[in-house]
Symmetry: C2
Subunit: 289 residues, 2 copies
């Protein structure tokens, strides 16, 4: 096309694709170009702004390493990661929420009732619940891949003081679909803000905080796995999670329990004499197609 | 917002910005988020596609160096670079077209009528014209920063055989606004296609070729500079420039001239006995606001 104009360039872009292009590739790239072009047209994007955007991507590239992915973080703070989660969430099932960059492969198995906090100090939190399918049938043998921050606000992969499997566990539900473990309450933390993403947050007066949460990947044979997080309802950042991860069905009450009431059947039974926290959270998984 | 949904996330994103955010920053980022979200919603972007996009950006980051910028190339092949050029083009003036990554700072001065091709072989091309303002007044003392490929299809910065100022020149117009020089015809070439951008081009059956062109940055006191390119009308890639740089007013006839007709007043006068090519191209610059 020798007469490309600002009004026809989106069609020219689509017209350049060969006829045997995979239809889905064509659909995704055509939509991407259309929205990129509409963004530039609507804002009358200047050369300086365009250059700044490119420099930002270069900076994100330089700062990205096996330990830190600034592009994922950019997707997170722009709301794209959460949006993709929500697009593929099933209304009858537990909502999904951001995986984040801190998940560790091959977490150590944890028996039902065992303790995940090891030697770490802090209020004991007892977490328990049942994994169901959408017919409310408990799912025996479902697995929960669980992870969270240590009391210092760091995940094991960020913290030289922790071994890599610290605050990571893999639990399998019993014949009643039940899981249960103890830990300490996770804490709120900031996403890395010393790079280009931090500069965006600064520019719009946004903080880098996430509300505290427990991460789960819950899976069962014949069901769609759910990657999600559970948030306490008294967290100060609940209404302004910088990565848009909070969903109404993932907000729980972490109830304070009276001293001396700690139940039997736990590794810590008989060892917790004071108050403790308890949260009950059930998962609902949808069946595979 | 604790109940973020796929329908309200764009508003939640805008709502997170503080009230004293710079209005232009707010406008650009809100539009960017809206189009990014609409893109994901319209295509039902899958987690696999989202991950692939992020891996693509990481790869672009790794391959980008001071000598090669894959993000600029991505912007080029997506049509964004050309679109930003066109948005800020002035209809009465010469169209602008992509700067590209091969411009070299501080090009060597070239006198009117001098030869830019040095010892390089090939058909002699005589290029001349006048720089005008939009009142058709010739602009004396206007400067033309000129660059092109050598006959091997490489720019000086890509080619160890050339010194860095090879096929780069800075010319100043005479009292009649005229410029004139000789060179060899530039050749068509491919953009780098061994990285993620090449993978996109492959996926949609697009070639990496650009039609041959002469680059100019034309400037004059009191006028808006224009960054542009001039294309021969017989180039096989004219209708499918992979970076969308061709505009109708930038397409010229490179006319073949009879042997023995080479004019006086050039460094090569009396030295060109055979046929040669000639192109006449006038620039029109708009006055500064």
């Amino acid at each position: 096309m020798r007469n490309v104009t600002k009004d026809n360039i989106t069609d020219v872009f689509a017209g350049y694709m060969s006829e045997d292009t995979d239809p889905r590739t064509k659909e995704v790239l055509t939509s991407l170009a259309k929205h990129l072009h509409d963004f530039a047209r609507e804002t009358n994007l200047t050369h300086d702004e365009w250059r700044k955007g490119l420099e930002f991507m270069e900076w994100a590239g330089r700062i990205t390493s096996p330990e830190r992915n600034e592009f994922v973080l950019l997707s997170d703070v722009m709301g794209l990661s959460s949006l993709v989660d929500m697009i593929h969430s099933v209304p009858e099932a537990t909502s999904s929420s951001v995986l984040g960059p801190f998940h560790v492969s091959n977490p150590p198995p944890l028996a039902i009732g065992a303790d995940m906090k090891r030697h770490y100090e802090g209020d004991v939190l007892l977490v328990e619940g049942v994994v169901y399918d959408t017919d409310k049938k408990p799912l025996a043998g479902a697995t929960l891949d669980i992870w969270q921050t240590a009391p210092n606000g760091l995940y094991s992969s960020q913290d030289e003081e922790q071994d890599i499997s610290s605050f990571h566990a893999l639990m399998t539900t019993d014949e009643n679909g039940r899981y249960a473990f103890t830990t300490v309450k996770p804490v709120e933390y900031t996403v890395p803000s010393d790079g280009p993403v931090g500069q965006i947050l600064d520019a719009v007066g946004r903080h880098p905080w996430r509300p505290s949460h427990l991460h789960f990947i819950t899976s069962a044979k014949g069901c769609k796995s759910v990657v999600t997080e559970v948030f306490p309802d008294d967290d100060p950042y609940l209404d302004q999670d910088t990565v848009f991860g909070v969903r109404e069905d993932l907000v729980m009450s972490y109830e304070r329990q009276a001293a001396g009431s700690f139940p039997d059947g736990f590794e810590l039974s008989g060892k917790v004499s004071g108050e403790y926290l308890r949260v009950e959270f059930d998962f609902v998984l949808v069946k595979d197609d």
